[in-house]
Every structure is written in structure tokens, then in C-alpha cells.
């Protein structure tokens, strides 16, 4: 690793950390000081979290371009996610559900 690469790596690490830490500490301070302007945003905040989760889920199953869309892979992904949901419904265990989804997907991908 060159000196320039090392410095850039440390800068990127510091920048990433600050973008996580500063908002967290600001939010915590607002709550500690009983800032009621933040309270008025709680209704909106209750929707932002699930929206971000849905966005993360959607992105994690979408290829980076339309040209890479593979119907077979999409079907396998959908079936694996259904298996995940069923497993979670039955076991109420996050780890078990993720494992089931992973195994189902792996098996489906091996089918001719």
C-alpha cells in the first residue's frame, strides 16, 4: 500500500465514521435535551426506517443493469424469499429464517 493510498484509506474511513457518528450523537443530544421539535418528526421517522429497509431489500435483489436481469435468477430469488418468510413465520427466529432462505436459494441455483 502506497503512502497516498494509506492516507486516502484513512480519510475515507474518517469520513464514513463521521457520517455515522455525528447524526447519532446529534439525535441523542436532541432527545436528552427534550427537544420537542424532534418529537414532531417521530411520525415521519416511524416511516423512514421501514422505507430504508425496503430500499435495502429491493437493491439487494436487483442487478446493476437491465441487461443483467435473469428471469430464472429472479424466480429463484422470489422462491427463496417466500421460503424465508414461511420459515420466519413458523420459527420466529431470524437466524433460522435466513439460513433456510440461503439453503433454498443454493439448492434452486444448482437445479438444471
Amino acid at each position: 500500500m502506497t503512502g497516498e493510498t494509506l492516507i486516502l484509506t484513512l480519510f475515507v474511513g474518517a469520513l464514513t465514521y463521521l457520517m455515522r457518528a455525528l447524526p447519532l450523537m446529534w439525535g441523542a443530544r436532541q432527545h436528552r435535551e427534550g427537544d420537542y421539535s424532534l418529537k414532531s418528526l417521530e411520525g415521519m421517522a416511524a416511516l423512514v426506517g421501514p422505507s430504508l429497509l425496503a430500499g435495502l431489500l429491493a437493491v439487494s435483489v436487483t442487478p446493476v443493469s437491465i441487461g443483467q436481469l435473469d428471469p430464472r435468477e429472479l424466480l429463484d430469488t422470489a422462491l427463496a424469499l417466500v421460503a424465508t418468510a414461511i420459515a420466519y413465520r413458523r420459527r420466529n427466529s431470524l437466524g433460522a429464517a435466513v439460513l433456510v432462505g440461503t439453503v433454498v436459494y443454493g439448492l434452486l441455483r444448482q437445479l438444471p
Binding site: T16, R20, L24, R32, A45
Partner: protein, 234 residues
């Protein structure tokens, strides 16, 4: 419950994240070697940045000879959505010692945030930060360990077990789904659908990071607007 048990439970809850991180971390280790980094350099990058998208972008840009300003601006664009994570988790961490907040902030990746958002409020307020620390440390160990394994012999590993690597790519989508499922009721369904559509469109247009940021804004707006159109009170 003792502090050790709380922490251990946090580490155990990182298992699904670790499953998802391993293939990505392996891939990063391989890519970083191809870009000319040593295994130590790849490990240092994962240990200090701990953000997959930023790391892949950093290695890619460096190998193309990009200037520092481009690298830093790209990092900001890729990480903008993280700005929302802290304020969303802050209410759950209001009893966290002030000195511990900067520590737990380091590990706020997408997957840690998603898990914490869904699970923190189920734990006693006094132990949440310790449980979160355990969650982050488990995820961090998988990320850095996977990077080192990838940098040292990743191609051989993937070549020997291609089916396992392919299967593990489902771990993160499965994790996001089970975290989201319990939240889906009422207007949250509208918000989630709108957010997903925005994120998919942006992803296909090669603007994944901005799409996630937009999802966090468009989703709630869609729910509020449709709820307002139906005249429902929130």
C-alpha cells in the same frame, strides 16, 4: 442479565449478517489484491472503513488513478443515507452512556442499522448499547476476517466451493426481509412499496446510493400523501 450475556447475545444476533458479509468480504479481498494491495492493506482498509460500497469504490477509483477529491466526493455520495441512521436509532439509545455513542457509531452499517432498528426496542433500555456493540463486533469480525481470507486465498476458496458462495448471496436479502416483515402494516406498506420502487429504478440506472437516500424520503412522503388523500388521521 449479566453484561457478558447481553454482549454474547448481541454477537449471536450478528450471525445472519456475518453469513451475508462473508462472500462480499471474500470478493473484496480478491479485488483488492488484483488492484495491487497487499493482504495487510486490504485488511487495513476493511478495518478502518467498514463500508462495502465505499471500499469497492475506493479500490476501483485508485486503480483507475482517480484524484483524491473524486474519491472523497464519491465516499460522501455513497454514504449519504447513513446520515439518517443515527437520528432513527437515537431514541432507542437515549440511556446509552455519552462516551459509548461514538464507539457504537463506528459499526452502523446498513445491515447493523436494519437489525438494530428492528430489535433494539425489545431489549431493556439499560443494556441496548452493549447488545448493539456485540452485534457490531460480530459483523465486524466477519467483514475483516472475510477480507483477509479473500486476500490470502479467496480465488481458491471460491473455486473450491462455488455453490456455497452463490447460496450466501441470498443471506442479506433474507435478513432484510425478515426485519421488514413485522413492520408491514397500514401506511408502512405504502411507504415500503414506494421506497422499493424508487430504489429499484435507481439501481437499474446505476445510482444505487442516491436511490437508497431517495427511498428514505419518497417512501414516507408517499404514505403521508396517500394517507392524507384518504382523509385518514395519523
Amino acid at each position: 442479565m449479566s453484561s457478558l450475556r447481553v454482549w454474547v447475545r448481541g454477537v449471536r444476533s450478528s450471525f445472519p449478517i456475518a453469513l451475508g458479509y462473508l462472500p462480499v468480504a471474500l470478493a473484496f479481498g480478491i479485488v483488492s489484491r488484483e488492484a495491487g494491495l497487499t493482504p495487510a492493506g486490504a485488511l487495513l482498509m476493511s478495518a478502518t472503513v467498514f463500508a462495502g460500497a465505499s471500499q469497492f469504490a475506493l479500490v476501483g477509483l485508485l486503480s483507475q488513478g482517480a484524484v483524491a477529491s473524486v474519491v472523497l466526493l464519491t465516499t460522501i455520495a455513497l454514504n449519504l443515507r447513513h446520515i439518517m441512521y443515527g437520528p432513527l436509532l437515537a431514541p432507542s439509545l437515549r440511556r446509552c452512556a455519552v462516551g459509548r455513542l461514538p464507539v457504537v457509531a463506528f459499526g452502523l452499517t446498513d445491515e447493523v442499522f436494519a437489525t438494530a432498528l428492528a430489535q433494539l426496542d425489545r431489549q431493556p433500555a439499560s443494556t441496548r448499547s452493549l447488545g448493539l456493540l456485540g452485534l457490531e463486533m460480530g459483523a465486524y469480525a466477519a467483514w475483516t476476517g472475510g477480507t483477509l481470507a479473500g486476500a490470502l486465498g479467496g480465488e481458491a476458496l471460491v473455486g473450491a466451493f462455488p455453490a456455497v458462495s452463490s447460496a450466501l448471496s441470498m443471506a442479506l436479502p433474507a435478513l432484510f426481509l425478515v426485519l421488514l416483515l413485522p413492520m408491514l402494516e397500514g401506511e408502512v406498506v405504502v411507504a415500503a412499496l414506494a421506497a422499493a420502487v424508487v430504489a429499484v429504478v435507481a439501481r437499474l440506472a446505476d445510482h444505487t446510493a442516491l436511490g437508497l437516500l431517495a427511498a428514505g424520503i419518497v417512501g414516507p412522503l408517499a404514505a403521508i400523501l396517500t394517507g392524507g388523500a384518504r382523509g385518514e388521521r395519523r
